[in-house]
Amino acid sequence: MRNAFLETLYELALEDERVTFITGDLGFRVVEKFMENRPKQFLNAGVAEQNMTGIAVGMALSGRICCTYSIANFPTLRCLEHIRNDVCYHDADVKIVSVGGGFAYGAASVTHHAMEDLGVMRCLPNLTVIAPGDPVETRAATRAIIAQKGPVYLRLGKAGEPTVHAGEIDFRIGKAIRLREGNDATLISTGGMLWTAGKAAEQLAKAGIQVRVLSMHTLKPLDVEAVLAAARETGALLTLEEHSVVGGLGSAVAETLAEQLELKVPFKRLGVPNAFSPHIGAQDYMLTKHGLSPEAVAQSVTDFLKVARRPPQAADGGGDSKKAMS
Protein backbone atom coordinates (compact mmCIF):
# COMPACT_ATOMS: atom_id res chain seq x y z
CA MET A 1 0.00 0.00 0.00
CA ARG A 2 2.86 2.35 0.82
CA ASN A 3 4.30 1.95 -2.67
CA ALA A 4 0.91 2.28 -4.33
CA PHE A 5 0.37 5.53 -2.41
CA LEU A 6 3.78 6.98 -3.18
CA GLU A 7 3.65 6.06 -6.87
CA THR A 8 0.23 7.59 -7.25
CA LEU A 9 1.16 10.72 -5.30
CA TYR A 10 4.21 11.14 -7.49
CA GLU A 11 2.03 10.97 -10.60
CA LEU A 12 -0.29 13.56 -9.06
CA ALA A 13 2.65 15.78 -8.17
CA LEU A 14 3.75 15.73 -11.80
CA GLU A 15 0.24 16.76 -12.83
CA ASP A 16 -0.28 19.46 -10.18
CA GLU A 17 2.54 21.50 -8.67
CA ARG A 18 0.46 22.29 -5.58
CA VAL A 19 0.79 18.67 -4.42
CA THR A 20 3.44 18.64 -1.70
CA PHE A 21 4.84 15.66 0.18
CA ILE A 22 6.19 16.27 3.68
CA THR A 23 7.89 13.40 5.48
CA GLY A 24 8.97 13.09 9.07
CA ASP A 25 12.38 11.83 8.02
CA LEU A 26 11.09 8.46 6.83
CA GLY A 27 10.87 6.74 3.46
CA PHE A 28 14.36 5.39 2.79
CA ARG A 29 14.50 3.89 -0.73
CA VAL A 30 10.90 4.85 -1.52
CA VAL A 31 10.82 8.66 -1.58
CA GLU A 32 14.07 9.45 -3.38
CA LYS A 33 12.48 9.79 -6.83
CA PHE A 34 10.03 12.36 -5.50
CA MET A 35 12.79 14.20 -3.64
CA GLU A 36 15.07 14.43 -6.66
CA ASN A 37 12.53 15.18 -9.36
CA ARG A 38 10.10 17.47 -7.54
CA PRO A 39 12.27 19.29 -4.99
CA LYS A 40 9.89 22.24 -4.60
CA GLN A 41 7.10 19.83 -3.75
CA PHE A 42 9.11 17.67 -1.36
CA LEU A 43 10.10 18.42 2.21
CA ASN A 44 11.84 16.43 4.90
CA ALA A 45 10.62 18.09 8.09
CA GLY A 46 12.96 16.05 10.26
CA VAL A 47 11.95 14.05 13.30
CA ALA A 48 9.48 16.67 14.50
CA GLU A 49 5.87 15.76 13.88
CA GLN A 50 4.31 18.76 15.59
CA ASN A 51 6.31 21.12 13.42
CA MET A 52 5.69 18.93 10.36
CA THR A 53 1.95 19.26 10.87
CA GLY A 54 2.14 23.01 11.42
CA ILE A 55 4.30 23.48 8.34
CA ALA A 56 1.80 21.52 6.28
CA VAL A 57 -0.96 23.84 7.50
CA GLY A 58 1.08 26.95 6.73
CA MET A 59 1.80 25.69 3.22
CA ALA A 60 -1.81 24.59 2.71
CA LEU A 61 -3.10 27.99 3.81
CA SER A 62 -0.74 29.37 1.15
CA GLY A 63 -2.45 27.36 -1.57
CA ARG A 64 -0.75 23.98 -1.54
CA ILE A 65 -2.16 20.49 -1.10
CA CYS A 66 0.04 18.89 1.54
CA CYS A 67 0.55 15.30 2.67
CA THR A 68 2.29 14.68 5.98
CA TYR A 69 3.83 11.24 6.12
CA SER A 70 5.30 9.05 8.80
CA ILE A 71 4.81 5.63 10.34
CA ALA A 72 2.48 4.14 12.90
CA ASN A 73 1.44 6.66 15.58
CA PHE A 74 3.94 9.39 14.78
CA PRO A 75 1.96 11.53 12.29
CA THR A 76 -1.25 11.16 14.33
CA LEU A 77 -1.05 10.72 18.08
CA ARG A 78 2.29 12.46 18.53
CA CYS A 79 0.94 15.70 17.11
CA LEU A 80 -2.74 15.25 17.78
CA GLU A 81 -3.56 18.76 18.95
CA HIS A 82 -1.79 20.26 15.93
CA ILE A 83 -4.08 18.14 13.78
CA ARG A 84 -7.14 19.21 15.74
CA ASN A 85 -6.51 22.94 16.02
CA ASP A 86 -4.39 23.68 12.98
CA VAL A 87 -5.46 21.16 10.34
CA CYS A 88 -9.08 20.48 11.23
CA TYR A 89 -10.28 23.80 12.66
CA HIS A 90 -8.77 25.67 9.73
CA ASP A 91 -10.14 23.11 7.28
CA ALA A 92 -6.65 23.09 5.80
CA ASP A 93 -5.95 21.05 2.69
CA VAL A 94 -3.72 18.63 4.56
CA LYS A 95 -3.75 14.86 4.18
CA ILE A 96 -2.23 13.01 7.11
CA VAL A 97 -0.77 9.74 5.89
CA SER A 98 0.36 6.96 8.19
CA VAL A 99 2.06 3.82 6.96
CA GLY A 100 2.18 0.75 9.12
CA GLY A 101 -1.35 0.88 10.50
CA GLY A 102 -2.13 -1.97 12.87
CA PHE A 103 0.59 -4.57 13.39
CA ALA A 104 2.66 -3.84 10.27
CA TYR A 105 5.53 -3.05 12.64
CA GLY A 106 4.52 -5.83 14.99
CA ALA A 107 8.04 -6.89 15.94
CA ALA A 108 9.08 -3.30 16.58
CA SER A 109 7.20 -3.21 19.92
CA VAL A 110 4.09 -1.59 21.30
CA THR A 111 5.33 1.92 20.47
CA HIS A 112 4.92 0.99 16.79
CA HIS A 113 1.54 -0.76 17.06
CA ALA A 114 -1.05 1.63 15.64
CA MET A 115 -4.15 0.43 17.42
CA GLU A 116 -6.04 3.56 18.40
CA ASP A 117 -5.41 5.89 15.47
CA LEU A 118 -8.67 5.30 13.64
CA GLY A 119 -10.72 5.85 16.77
CA VAL A 120 -8.90 9.01 17.74
CA MET A 121 -8.94 10.46 14.23
CA ARG A 122 -12.60 9.60 13.79
CA CYS A 123 -13.47 11.94 16.67
CA LEU A 124 -11.99 15.02 15.03
CA PRO A 125 -14.38 17.42 13.29
CA ASN A 126 -13.81 18.15 9.58
CA LEU A 127 -11.56 15.10 9.15
CA THR A 128 -12.33 12.40 6.61
CA VAL A 129 -10.88 9.03 7.68
CA ILE A 130 -9.88 6.43 5.10
CA ALA A 131 -8.21 3.03 5.43
CA PRO A 132 -8.00 1.36 2.01
CA GLY A 133 -8.24 -2.40 1.76
CA ASP A 134 -5.55 -3.19 -0.79
CA PRO A 135 -3.15 -1.51 -3.25
CA VAL A 136 -5.96 -1.00 -5.80
CA GLU A 137 -8.06 0.88 -3.27
CA THR A 138 -4.95 2.77 -2.14
CA ARG A 139 -4.31 4.15 -5.63
CA ALA A 140 -7.92 5.17 -5.98
CA ALA A 141 -8.03 6.65 -2.48
CA THR A 142 -4.89 8.69 -3.10
CA ARG A 143 -6.41 10.27 -6.20
CA ALA A 144 -9.70 10.85 -4.37
CA ILE A 145 -8.21 12.60 -1.35
CA ILE A 146 -6.08 14.91 -3.45
CA ALA A 147 -9.14 15.80 -5.52
CA GLN A 148 -11.25 16.44 -2.41
CA LYS A 149 -10.39 19.72 -0.70
CA GLY A 150 -9.94 19.53 3.05
CA PRO A 151 -8.43 17.43 5.84
CA VAL A 152 -8.08 13.67 5.46
CA TYR A 153 -6.47 10.93 7.48
CA LEU A 154 -5.23 8.11 5.22
CA ARG A 155 -4.20 4.99 7.10
CA LEU A 156 -2.14 2.57 5.08
CA GLY A 157 -0.53 -0.78 5.65
CA LYS A 158 3.13 -1.09 4.88
CA ALA A 159 4.22 -3.04 1.83
CA GLY A 160 3.52 -6.38 0.21
CA GLU A 161 -0.19 -6.55 0.93
CA PRO A 162 -1.95 -8.81 -1.56
CA THR A 163 -4.12 -7.27 -4.24
CA VAL A 164 -7.71 -8.17 -3.43
CA HIS A 165 -9.60 -6.45 -6.23
CA ALA A 166 -9.03 -8.25 -9.50
CA GLY A 167 -10.33 -5.48 -11.74
CA GLU A 168 -11.45 -1.88 -11.78
CA ILE A 169 -13.26 -0.59 -8.73
CA ASP A 170 -15.74 2.19 -8.23
CA PHE A 171 -14.02 4.01 -5.39
CA ARG A 172 -15.94 6.88 -3.89
CA ILE A 173 -15.16 8.44 -0.52
CA GLY A 174 -17.89 7.40 1.90
CA LYS A 175 -19.20 4.52 -0.21
CA ALA A 176 -18.40 0.94 0.77
CA ILE A 177 -17.36 -1.53 -1.91
CA ARG A 178 -19.11 -4.88 -1.97
CA LEU A 179 -16.40 -7.49 -2.47
CA ARG A 180 -18.58 -10.58 -2.22
CA GLU A 181 -22.28 -11.34 -2.23
CA GLY A 182 -23.97 -13.35 0.50
CA ASN A 183 -27.16 -13.39 2.55
CA ASP A 184 -26.29 -15.32 5.73
CA ALA A 185 -24.27 -12.53 7.37
CA THR A 186 -22.11 -9.54 6.46
CA LEU A 187 -18.46 -9.13 7.28
CA ILE A 188 -17.56 -5.44 7.17
CA SER A 189 -13.84 -4.91 6.87
CA THR A 190 -11.64 -1.84 6.95
CA GLY A 191 -8.02 -1.42 5.93
CA GLY A 192 -5.77 -4.34 5.12
CA MET A 193 -8.08 -6.89 6.75
CA LEU A 194 -9.98 -6.99 3.47
CA TRP A 195 -7.89 -9.87 2.21
CA THR A 196 -8.54 -11.76 5.46
CA ALA A 197 -12.26 -11.07 5.19
CA GLY A 198 -12.30 -12.43 1.64
CA LYS A 199 -10.38 -15.55 2.59
CA ALA A 200 -12.60 -16.17 5.62
CA ALA A 201 -15.67 -15.80 3.42
CA GLU A 202 -14.26 -18.34 0.95
CA GLN A 203 -13.77 -20.83 3.77
CA LEU A 204 -17.24 -20.18 5.15
CA ALA A 205 -18.75 -20.73 1.71
CA LYS A 206 -17.27 -24.20 1.67
CA ALA A 207 -19.19 -24.86 4.87
CA GLY A 208 -22.38 -23.53 3.31
CA ILE A 209 -22.36 -20.09 4.92
CA GLN A 210 -22.62 -17.29 2.38
CA VAL A 211 -21.16 -14.10 3.78
CA ARG A 212 -21.38 -10.67 2.20
CA VAL A 213 -18.06 -8.85 2.41
CA LEU A 214 -17.95 -5.06 2.43
CA SER A 215 -14.81 -3.01 2.19
CA MET A 216 -15.54 -0.03 4.42
CA HIS A 217 -12.52 1.91 3.24
CA THR A 218 -14.00 5.15 4.54
CA LEU A 219 -14.64 5.17 8.27
CA LYS A 220 -15.79 8.73 8.25
CA PRO A 221 -18.18 9.58 6.79
CA LEU A 222 -19.43 6.03 7.32
CA ASP A 223 -21.57 4.48 4.60
CA VAL A 224 -24.61 4.15 6.84
CA GLU A 225 -26.77 3.08 3.93
CA ALA A 226 -24.55 0.08 3.20
CA VAL A 227 -24.50 -0.90 6.88
CA LEU A 228 -28.27 -0.76 7.22
CA ALA A 229 -28.84 -2.57 3.94
CA ALA A 230 -26.50 -5.32 5.09
CA ALA A 231 -28.33 -5.54 8.42
CA ARG A 232 -31.73 -5.82 6.78
CA GLU A 233 -30.69 -8.14 3.96
CA THR A 234 -28.31 -10.52 5.75
CA GLY A 235 -29.56 -10.41 9.35
CA ALA A 236 -26.19 -10.50 11.11
CA LEU A 237 -23.17 -8.17 11.07
CA LEU A 238 -19.56 -8.53 12.06
CA THR A 239 -16.86 -5.89 11.74
CA LEU A 240 -13.22 -6.75 11.12
CA GLU A 241 -10.31 -4.40 11.73
CA GLU A 242 -6.62 -4.43 12.57
CA HIS A 243 -7.28 -1.93 15.32
CA SER A 244 -8.63 -1.81 18.84
CA VAL A 245 -12.26 -2.85 19.09
CA VAL A 246 -12.73 0.51 20.82
CA GLY A 247 -13.25 3.54 18.64
CA GLY A 248 -12.72 2.24 15.12
CA LEU A 249 -14.94 0.51 12.58
CA GLY A 250 -16.67 -1.67 15.17
CA SER A 251 -17.61 1.35 17.21
CA ALA A 252 -18.75 3.31 14.19
CA VAL A 253 -21.04 0.50 13.05
CA ALA A 254 -22.28 -0.11 16.62
CA GLU A 255 -23.20 3.57 16.96
CA THR A 256 -25.16 3.35 13.74
CA LEU A 257 -27.01 0.18 14.69
CA ALA A 258 -27.77 1.31 18.24
CA GLU A 259 -29.77 4.28 17.00
CA GLN A 260 -32.00 2.17 14.73
CA LEU A 261 -35.16 1.68 16.77
CA GLU A 262 -36.80 -0.63 14.24
CA LEU A 263 -33.77 -2.77 13.53
CA LYS A 264 -32.49 -5.39 15.93
CA VAL A 265 -29.60 -7.24 14.38
CA PRO A 266 -26.99 -9.52 15.97
CA PHE A 267 -23.64 -7.74 15.83
CA LYS A 268 -20.06 -8.54 16.78
CA ARG A 269 -16.78 -6.67 16.60
CA LEU A 270 -13.65 -8.57 15.56
CA GLY A 271 -10.43 -6.74 16.24
CA VAL A 272 -7.75 -6.31 18.85
CA PRO A 273 -8.60 -6.01 22.55
CA ASN A 274 -8.13 -2.58 24.11
CA ALA A 275 -4.86 -3.61 25.73
CA PHE A 276 -1.17 -3.37 24.94
CA SER A 277 -0.27 -6.53 23.11
CA PRO A 278 1.97 -8.89 25.10
CA HIS A 279 3.18 -10.45 21.83
CA ILE A 280 6.14 -9.63 19.62
CA GLY A 281 6.33 -10.71 16.02
CA ALA A 282 5.67 -10.07 12.35
CA GLN A 283 2.26 -8.93 11.17
CA ASP A 284 0.93 -12.41 10.31
CA TYR A 285 2.11 -13.76 13.65
CA MET A 286 0.50 -10.89 15.53
CA LEU A 287 -2.79 -11.23 13.68
CA THR A 288 -2.87 -14.96 14.37
CA LYS A 289 -2.13 -14.36 18.04
CA HIS A 290 -5.09 -11.99 18.20
CA GLY A 291 -7.52 -14.31 16.45
CA LEU A 292 -7.44 -12.41 13.18
CA SER A 293 -6.16 -15.05 10.74
CA PRO A 294 -8.62 -16.06 8.01
CA GLU A 295 -9.24 -19.38 9.77
CA ALA A 296 -9.87 -17.74 13.13
CA VAL A 297 -12.16 -15.13 11.58
CA ALA A 298 -14.13 -17.85 9.79
CA GLN A 299 -14.47 -19.70 13.08
CA SER A 300 -15.57 -16.52 14.87
CA VAL A 301 -18.26 -15.98 12.25
CA THR A 302 -19.44 -19.59 12.58
CA ASP A 303 -19.55 -19.42 16.38
CA PHE A 304 -21.30 -16.07 16.30
CA LEU A 305 -23.97 -17.23 13.90
CA LYS A 306 -24.73 -20.25 16.11
CA VAL A 307 -25.51 -17.89 18.98
CA ALA A 308 -27.14 -15.24 16.81
CA ARG A 309 -29.50 -17.72 15.17
CA ARG A 310 -30.50 -19.45 18.43
CA PRO A 311 -34.21 -18.95 19.23
CA PRO A 312 -34.87 -16.45 22.03
CA GLN A 313 -35.11 -17.88 25.57
CA ALA A 314 -38.46 -17.94 27.33
CA ALA A 315 -39.18 -14.60 28.97
CA ASP A 316 -40.15 -16.01 32.41
CA GLY A 317 -36.81 -17.62 33.15
CA GLY A 318 -35.69 -15.01 35.73
CA GLY A 319 -37.16 -16.53 38.91
CA ASP A 320 -33.86 -17.47 40.50
CA SER A 321 -32.34 -14.07 40.11
CA LYS A 322 -35.42 -12.46 41.63
CA LYS A 323 -35.01 -14.70 44.67
CA ALA A 324 -31.37 -13.84 44.91
CA MET A 325 -32.15 -10.13 44.86
CA SER A 326 -34.80 -10.37 47.58
Binding site: M52, G54, I55, V57, G58, D86
Partner: protein
Protein backbone atom coordinates in the same frame (compact mmCIF):
# COMPACT_ATOMS: atom_id res chain seq x y z
CA UNK B 1 2.57 43.66 23.59
CA UNK B 2 0.29 46.47 22.45
CA UNK B 3 3.32 48.58 21.59
CA UNK B 4 4.61 45.77 19.39
CA UNK B 5 1.24 45.37 17.67
CA UNK B 6 0.94 49.13 17.15
CA UNK B 7 4.35 49.23 15.48
CA UNK B 8 3.67 46.18 13.33
CA UNK B 9 0.27 47.30 12.09
CA UNK B 10 1.14 50.99 12.04
CA UNK B 11 4.42 50.86 10.16
CA UNK B 12 5.65 47.41 9.19
CA UNK B 13 3.05 44.96 7.90
CA UNK B 14 1.77 45.07 4.34
CA UNK B 15 -1.98 44.49 4.44
CA UNK B 16 -5.27 45.72 3.07
CA UNK B 17 -8.05 45.71 5.64
CA UNK B 18 -10.61 45.73 2.86
CA UNK B 19 -9.07 42.55 1.42
CA UNK B 20 -8.01 40.38 4.39
CA UNK B 21 -7.27 37.49 2.03
CA UNK B 22 -5.05 39.53 -0.32
CA UNK B 23 -2.45 36.91 -1.34
CA UNK B 24 0.51 39.30 -1.15
CA UNK B 25 -0.20 40.42 2.44
CA UNK B 26 2.34 39.87 5.18
CA UNK B 27 1.11 37.20 7.56
CA UNK B 28 0.83 38.04 11.23
CA UNK B 29 0.19 35.24 13.71
CA UNK B 30 -0.41 35.83 17.40
CA UNK B 31 0.91 32.66 18.94
CA UNK B 32 0.03 33.79 22.45
CA UNK B 33 -3.66 33.68 21.60
CA UNK B 34 -4.66 34.73 25.10
CA UNK B 35 -3.45 38.21 24.20
CA UNK B 36 -6.17 38.51 21.57
CA UNK B 37 -7.91 41.52 23.14
CA UNK B 38 -4.98 43.67 22.04
CA UNK B 39 -5.02 42.07 18.58
CA UNK B 40 -8.77 42.59 18.18
CA UNK B 41 -8.41 46.25 19.19
CA UNK B 42 -5.56 46.66 16.69
CA UNK B 43 -7.52 45.02 13.89
CA UNK B 44 -10.56 47.16 14.64
CA UNK B 45 -8.38 50.27 14.66
CA UNK B 46 -7.06 49.25 11.24
CA UNK B 47 -10.59 48.79 9.90
CA UNK B 48 -10.76 45.01 9.58
CA UNK B 49 -14.07 45.02 11.47
CA UNK B 50 -16.28 47.57 13.31
CA UNK B 51 -14.95 48.91 16.59
CA UNK B 52 -18.26 48.28 18.32
CA UNK B 53 -17.51 44.56 18.19
CA UNK B 54 -14.94 45.22 20.91
CA UNK B 55 -17.62 46.09 23.45
CA UNK B 56 -18.89 42.52 23.22
CA UNK B 57 -15.55 40.81 23.77
CA UNK B 58 -15.92 37.48 25.59
CA UNK B 59 -19.69 37.82 25.97
CA UNK B 60 -22.31 35.18 25.20
CA UNK B 61 -23.37 34.98 21.59
CA UNK B 62 -20.88 37.51 20.21
CA UNK B 63 -18.03 37.45 17.69
CA UNK B 64 -14.85 37.77 19.74
CA UNK B 65 -13.82 34.86 21.98
CA UNK B 66 -11.01 34.95 24.52
CA UNK B 67 -8.39 33.48 22.23
CA UNK B 68 -7.54 34.57 18.69
CA UNK B 69 -9.99 32.96 16.32
CA UNK B 70 -10.02 33.05 12.55
CA UNK B 71 -13.64 32.03 12.11
CA UNK B 72 -15.66 35.10 11.36
CA UNK B 73 -13.00 37.60 12.42
CA UNK B 74 -11.38 39.33 9.43
CA UNK B 75 -7.64 39.76 9.80
CA UNK B 76 -6.98 36.86 12.16
CA UNK B 77 -4.78 34.44 10.20
CA UNK B 78 -4.69 31.58 12.65
CA UNK B 79 -6.73 30.42 15.60
CA UNK B 80 -4.47 30.11 18.58
CA UNK B 81 -4.94 29.58 22.27
CA UNK B 82 -3.04 26.39 22.74
CA UNK B 83 0.57 27.52 22.86
CA UNK B 84 3.34 26.45 20.49
CA UNK B 85 1.21 26.28 17.35
CA UNK B 86 1.81 29.45 15.36
CA UNK B 87 5.54 29.26 14.77
CA UNK B 88 5.35 25.93 12.89
CA UNK B 89 2.49 27.27 10.77
CA UNK B 90 4.45 30.47 10.09
CA UNK B 91 7.40 28.32 8.98
CA UNK B 92 5.09 26.68 6.44
CA UNK B 93 3.84 30.05 5.22
CA UNK B 94 7.38 31.39 4.93
CA UNK B 95 8.61 28.26 3.15
CA UNK B 96 5.70 28.29 0.70
CA UNK B 97 6.41 31.96 0.03
CA UNK B 98 10.07 31.26 -0.68
CA UNK B 99 9.38 28.29 -2.92
CA UNK B 100 6.65 30.09 -4.83
CA UNK B 101 8.78 33.22 -5.34
CA UNK B 102 6.50 35.47 -3.27
CA UNK B 103 7.70 38.49 -1.36
CA UNK B 104 5.37 38.36 1.63
CA UNK B 105 6.73 37.74 5.11
CA UNK B 106 5.50 36.00 8.24
CA UNK B 107 5.60 37.67 11.68
CA UNK B 108 4.82 35.86 14.93
CA UNK B 109 4.55 37.09 18.50
CA UNK B 110 5.25 34.35 21.01
CA UNK B 111 5.19 34.63 24.78
CA UNK B 112 8.05 33.82 27.09
CA UNK B 113 6.17 31.10 28.97
CA UNK B 114 5.37 29.62 25.59
CA UNK B 115 9.07 29.02 25.04
CA UNK B 116 8.55 25.98 27.29
CA UNK B 117 6.68 24.29 24.44
CA UNK B 118 8.84 21.86 22.49
CA UNK B 119 7.07 22.53 19.20
CA UNK B 120 8.55 26.04 19.16
CA UNK B 121 12.04 24.58 19.29
CA UNK B 122 11.21 22.11 16.52
CA UNK B 123 10.35 25.13 14.40
CA UNK B 124 13.38 27.03 15.69
CA UNK B 125 15.59 24.26 14.32
CA UNK B 126 13.71 24.08 11.04
CA UNK B 127 13.61 27.74 9.99
CA UNK B 128 17.38 28.38 9.67
CA UNK B 129 17.84 25.05 7.88
CA UNK B 130 15.57 26.38 5.15
CA UNK B 131 16.99 29.91 5.27
CA UNK B 132 13.63 31.44 6.08
CA UNK B 133 14.76 35.05 6.26
CA UNK B 134 11.17 36.05 5.50
CA UNK B 135 10.20 34.86 8.99
CA UNK B 136 10.33 37.11 12.07
CA UNK B 137 9.42 36.27 15.63
CA UNK B 138 9.06 38.67 18.50
CA UNK B 139 9.31 37.16 21.97
CA UNK B 140 7.15 39.18 24.35
CA UNK B 141 9.53 38.71 27.27
CA UNK B 142 7.52 40.10 30.17
CA UNK B 143 9.10 37.61 32.59
CA UNK B 144 5.79 36.31 33.94
CA UNK B 145 3.95 33.14 33.02
CA UNK B 146 0.78 31.49 34.26
CA UNK B 147 1.88 30.53 37.74
CA UNK B 148 4.87 32.69 38.53
CA UNK B 149 7.93 34.47 37.26
CA UNK B 150 9.70 32.81 34.35
CA UNK B 151 13.00 32.54 36.20
CA UNK B 152 11.25 30.59 38.96
CA UNK B 153 9.26 28.27 36.68
CA UNK B 154 11.50 27.34 33.74
CA UNK B 155 14.30 29.86 33.44
CA UNK B 156 14.86 30.85 29.81
CA UNK B 157 18.19 32.61 30.26
CA UNK B 158 20.27 33.14 28.29
CA UNK B 159 17.30 33.52 25.94
CA UNK B 160 18.82 35.62 23.15
CA UNK B 161 21.84 33.32 23.07
CA UNK B 162 19.57 30.32 22.70
CA UNK B 163 18.09 31.76 19.51
CA UNK B 164 21.58 32.70 18.29
CA UNK B 165 22.72 29.16 18.94
CA UNK B 166 19.82 27.96 16.80
CA UNK B 167 21.22 30.11 13.96
CA UNK B 168 18.73 32.94 14.05
CA UNK B 169 19.61 36.59 13.60
CA UNK B 170 18.81 38.12 16.99
CA UNK B 171 18.26 41.57 18.47
CA UNK B 172 17.36 42.43 22.04
CA UNK B 173 15.35 45.57 22.58
CA UNK B 174 13.08 47.37 25.03
CA UNK B 175 9.70 46.20 23.80
CA UNK B 176 8.02 49.44 24.88
CA UNK B 177 10.47 51.68 23.01
CA UNK B 178 8.62 52.51 19.80
CA UNK B 179 11.74 53.85 18.12
CA UNK B 180 13.67 50.67 18.92
CA UNK B 181 10.75 48.52 17.75
CA UNK B 182 10.47 50.44 14.50
CA UNK B 183 14.21 50.24 13.93
CA UNK B 184 14.39 46.50 14.59
CA UNK B 185 11.29 45.56 12.60
CA UNK B 186 12.35 47.79 9.69
CA UNK B 187 15.69 46.05 9.44
CA UNK B 188 14.66 42.41 9.10
CA UNK B 189 16.19 40.14 8.14
CA UNK B 190 19.04 40.97 10.50
CA UNK B 191 21.19 38.51 8.57
CA UNK B 192 20.53 37.42 5.01
CA UNK B 193 19.51 33.79 4.85
CA UNK B 194 18.52 33.61 8.51
CA UNK B 195 15.17 33.99 10.26
CA UNK B 196 15.01 36.91 12.68
CA UNK B 197 14.22 36.90 16.38
CA UNK B 198 13.51 40.01 18.42
CA UNK B 199 13.71 39.45 22.14
CA UNK B 200 11.48 42.27 23.35
CA UNK B 201 11.90 43.02 27.03
CA UNK B 202 8.52 44.11 28.27
CA UNK B 203 6.65 44.72 31.51
CA UNK B 204 3.32 43.05 32.01
CA UNK B 205 0.67 45.72 32.59
CA UNK B 206 3.00 48.47 31.40
CA UNK B 207 1.72 51.97 32.06
CA UNK B 208 -0.64 51.13 34.91
CA UNK B 209 1.14 51.40 38.22
CA UNK B 210 -0.88 48.85 40.11
CA UNK B 211 -0.76 46.29 37.31
CA UNK B 212 2.89 46.28 36.35
CA UNK B 213 4.61 42.93 36.84
CA UNK B 214 1.67 41.53 38.79
CA UNK B 215 0.52 37.96 38.11
CA UNK B 216 -3.05 38.85 39.09
CA UNK B 217 -3.46 40.86 35.87
CA UNK B 218 -2.71 37.84 33.76
CA UNK B 219 -6.19 36.77 34.79
CA UNK B 220 -8.21 39.80 35.94
CA UNK B 221 -10.00 42.58 34.12
CA UNK B 222 -10.15 45.98 35.81
CA UNK B 223 -13.62 47.02 36.92
CA UNK B 224 -15.15 50.22 38.33
CA UNK B 225 -12.63 52.51 40.00
CA UNK B 226 -9.76 50.27 38.91
CA UNK B 227 -10.74 50.74 35.30
CA UNK B 228 -11.06 54.51 35.66
CA UNK B 229 -7.67 54.74 37.35
CA UNK B 230 -6.01 52.45 34.78
CA UNK B 231 -7.39 54.44 31.83
CA UNK B 232 -6.35 57.71 33.44
CA UNK B 233 -2.78 56.47 33.86
CA UNK B 234 -2.61 55.27 30.25
CA UNK B 235 -4.09 58.55 28.96
CA UNK B 236 -1.61 60.55 31.02
CA UNK B 237 1.28 58.74 29.38
CA UNK B 238 0.12 59.46 25.82
Amino acid sequence: MTDILATLYGKILRFDAARPEWPERDRFLLSKGHGCAALYATLAECGFFPKDWLHNYYLNGTQLPGHSTHKGIPGVELSTGSLGHALPVACGMALAGKRDGKSHRAFVIISDGECDEGSNWEAALFAPQHKLDNLVIIVDYNKIQSLGHVKDVIDLEPLADKWRAFNWGVREIDGHDLVALDDALSNVPFEKGKPSCIVAHTVKGKGVSFMEDKLLWHYSSPQGDELIKALAEVDAAL
